[in-house]
Amino acid sequence: MSDVALRMEQIYKKFRKGEVYNSLRDLVPAITGKMFRGELNASDKREFWALQDISFEVKRGESLGIIGHNGAGKSTALKILSRIMKPTKGRMIVNGRLSALIEVTAGFHPDLTGMENIFLHGTILGMSKREIQSKLDQIIAFSGIEEFINTPVKRYSSGMFARLGFAVAAHVDPEVLIVDEVLSVGDYVFQQRCLDRIREIIQNGTTVLFVSHNLKSVTEICERAMLLDHGRVIAIDKTDIVARKYLSLSAPLAPSEQSKPVYISKVRVRDCAGEQSTFESGEKAWVDVEVTAREAIEKLAVVIWFTDESQYIIFHTSTERLGYAPFSLQPGGTYRCTFELSLNIAHGTFHLVAEIHRYDIEKGYDRQEPAATIFIGSSIAVGGAVNCFPKLIESETAAPSTQCCEV
């Protein structure tokens, strides 16, 4: 066997927009109507290409991330990879068993017990009965729901449901594994266990394709990444290079509505050298905000904050909070300010939001969300939202002081 696990060659996928006749009651009048008007052969122009000329190759044991904005073609690529959809044009080669961690509970039937569902879902995912039998203990232990394994799954909580689904799917042992955003299931501990399991799968030599718009998990898991935009491949390279490209691709600042009395005319994130979107954890960054007024307006403040990818605000400040008096503007006047920030943030992707705010009447005039997106890299392995720059200064192992009773 060759060392190529998966290859796509010039894959195109076309979709039809607009009305599709899904009942004979609609179709028959539509066709007869068209026949009378003599336009039966008028071709439908309302089509668009979801994927255009996608070619790439993944070697055995490699892990490739697929990133892109909503509508970039990720889901279509995924459906073609998992063979649910056929490409309009092009060829795809898969060497070995392919399995997808997409909808991990799709095969479950609510009326069957957890145990029955393990066998049902396992066979749907392509395992043989004997294979499931041999992995049964592992699967049940991984899901952590031993007590309820003989209960119909419709009585499960949604977390238990998802855990059992992932447990089955994670034990398929395919040669090629496609992972979609399944890591959002379960609680934090379980998510970590899922990530660990995926790493373990990669270490066992499985080829992994990871589809996500969560840059953080992609960079944690994949060596290489592919960036899709509007159905085309923009870049295939090392993950951090592609991640940078992805961020630079972010939508340019939309000109604020003309009706607003005052608007944010410019937001820029820079390091000492100039505009930048990638920073090392702990580095200094400067945020320039420019505000322009159309009407005379008073008592304003500029507010900025960072959110992580789940829209959770991790940091928040404003000119007023930093002790600067509110400013007032004449029509056509501008106001500029620069914030200096120490980015003690852990590795990840963060969005900067800027707002013009008047504190005494609690009114927001204009907001840019996100005004910028930054990507933080870290040389120290830390998790969570902040970087406390940990150092290990003492480590020792002590022998037990008293003899333990032996059994």
């Binding site: 006749y21 009942s23 998992s82 649910i84 909808e103 095969g107 066979t123 043989s128």
Partner: protein, 261 residues
Amino acid sequence: MRMELKELYKYRELLYMITYRDIKVRYKQSVMGFLWAILMPILIVMSGVIVRYAYSIVSHAPMKTGDIANVAIKSVPWAFVVASIRSTCYCLSGNRDLVVKIYFPKEIFPMAAVLACLFDFAIAFGALVIILILMKVGWSIYLLWAPVLIATTIILCLGIGMILSAVSLFFRDVKHIVEVLLTFGIFFTPVFYDVQMFGPRGKLLLLNPVAPLLEGLGACMAKHASPDIPWFIYSLTVGLVTLIGGFVLFKYLEPEFAETI
């Protein structure tokens, strides 16, 4: 097509699992349990007996045990045909998640639907055999035809099921049309009556491919006679053509399922 069949063979355990699931789910929550499998045939047999009774009053000929046996023998497979055609119409839309999200040969769904109905049929047929023995209907060498005729019925149902399951995914009203056809189908199929009651023109009724099979079963099990072999060959041909054509059509439409459903 060879590749498709090979893949289907690879997924044979899944066919078993889905069939098992369909049967298990159907019986799991019903108080009546296996009575469900024979409820429908019992109802059909009872209506058949009433119809036959009416004939006998009109024609002043007394009703014979053989007539009742004949109606019962034809009713049970008819119930199977109706149930499997009906369930194949819903088998893909009822498994939406699996059709949209996971790859495997989707013809497993109509096949499992027919097999699950076959399970009910087996129970009902077992009950029927016991009743026939109690009625002292007797047996003959022609009984060997029964498995052949039943197998042909299954082939026909699988073929129709493949076509209907795929087509009803693209046209939502197909299942309503099928429902109406199934309701009135019993009048166009020799279940309660025999074809020869209509004289020579009765042969037209045999054009319905299910009819020669039911007539044949009635002949070999109740009348101890051979089925009409040319008409049996006609049914078998229609069945095989439907099955192969249905499979090809199903495979042709399969890539569109995920986009259409």
